[in-house]
Symmetry: C2
Subunit: 205 residues, 2 copies
């Protein structure tokens, strides 16, 4: 009855908060969400598929897309670019599907800049103590690195004000059901759907 | 962990859309919502309790409260006043409980004026045809009355723009679960809770 565009949902939060775990739990359930596929300049690895794992591009092509503002966000790691192509997101939304993007805070702030109509969800640690434990228990990092990442995390939490929702990740299942409630209720927001409802009325008058 | 004020949720919509049915179905489930108790100047009927069914007031007292802007909305039917006392709502919210108000469109617009921080949900008929059927099937009204009420309903639907959410009442169960998603997600909105989260961080730093 209602023909509706999809909504871009962006899940973000400080390093170590558990964004990936929550995203995986969300997608392990029945969902109509489309996961946003990133673009990269790194080499395709065995088994990876173009348009499934990544969109693979040359460095030159990627830099052209940056100039043309065709990326909602991008960053460079170890000499390779990674980014979110605007074109894929917009086509998917136009087809009526929601797009879900899980991304670190700097990337989310870029997306907010380039696509303010998205819905931005900040995943909040149950406590800084807990966040420290999670970063420590990865076990792969020196104490100095851990302290740096904690400092970074505190700075990232200060950026909460750029988000629409805050979900505390005290329990993955609770966090997922809160995100599902946000997705459902955002589709009910009057400013998104009033036009279509009024059109229905006009058709009937 | 988070000390939070309650939120006022206002369910409204055109005459005949099924507000009362949806409200009853919502309250028949486990809920922490407090139903907003109205104030009236009509006579207390046998079995009715002060502060449970209504707050009963004299006409003089009610008019004093109107002058003092102590009512979020009010109307006069058959020589009696009915209204929503601001004091009860504010005390209940301050105690951390959500308040739920089911009300016709004119009343909701008054509440919006006097309490803009409320969340306003518009219950939408599946179609005007369906709305007509529902009004007709009450069976208590003449054709002229039905036509008048439909005309009124169309005008009320035009007022949708004053609302935050639109929920179509095609199925009572669906409508209730949508309202529950709205209630849950409104508690996650960053502007409501960011201050408390930042305080937690400061306490830990």
């Amino acid at each position: 009855m209602i023909e509706e565009k999809g909504i871009l949902f962006v899940l973000s939060g400080p390093s170590g908060v558990g964004k990936g775990t929550v995203r995986k739990a969300l997608f392990s359930q029945k969902t109509d969400l489309k996961y946003s596929i990133s673009m990269t300049t790194r080499e395709k690895r065995p088994g990876e598929q173009e348009g499934v794992d990544y969109f693979f591009k040359s460095k030159e092509d990627f830099e052209t897309l940056i100039e043309q503002k065709q990326l909602l966000e991008y960053a460079k790691y170890v000499n390779n670019y990674y980014g979110t192509p605007r074109n894929y997101v917009e086509k998917t939304l136009a087809a009526g599907h929601d797009v879900f993007l899980e991304i670190e805070v700097q990337g989310a702030l870029q997306v907010r800049e380039n696509f303010p109509e998205g819905v931005f969800i900040f995943l909040f640690p149950p406590s800084l103590e807990e966040l420290k434990n999670r970063i420590l228990h990865r076990g792969t990092e020196t104490e100095e690195l851990v302290l740096n990442r904690l400092k970074e995390a505190r700075k990232e939490i200060e950026m909460m004000d750029a988000y629409d929702y805050v979900v505390v990740n005290d329990d993955v299942g609770f966090a997922v059901s809160k995100i599902q409630a946000i997705i459902q209720s955002e589709h009910l927001r009057r400013e998104r759907i009033a036009k279509q409802y009024k059109r229905i009325l006009e058709d009937e008058l």
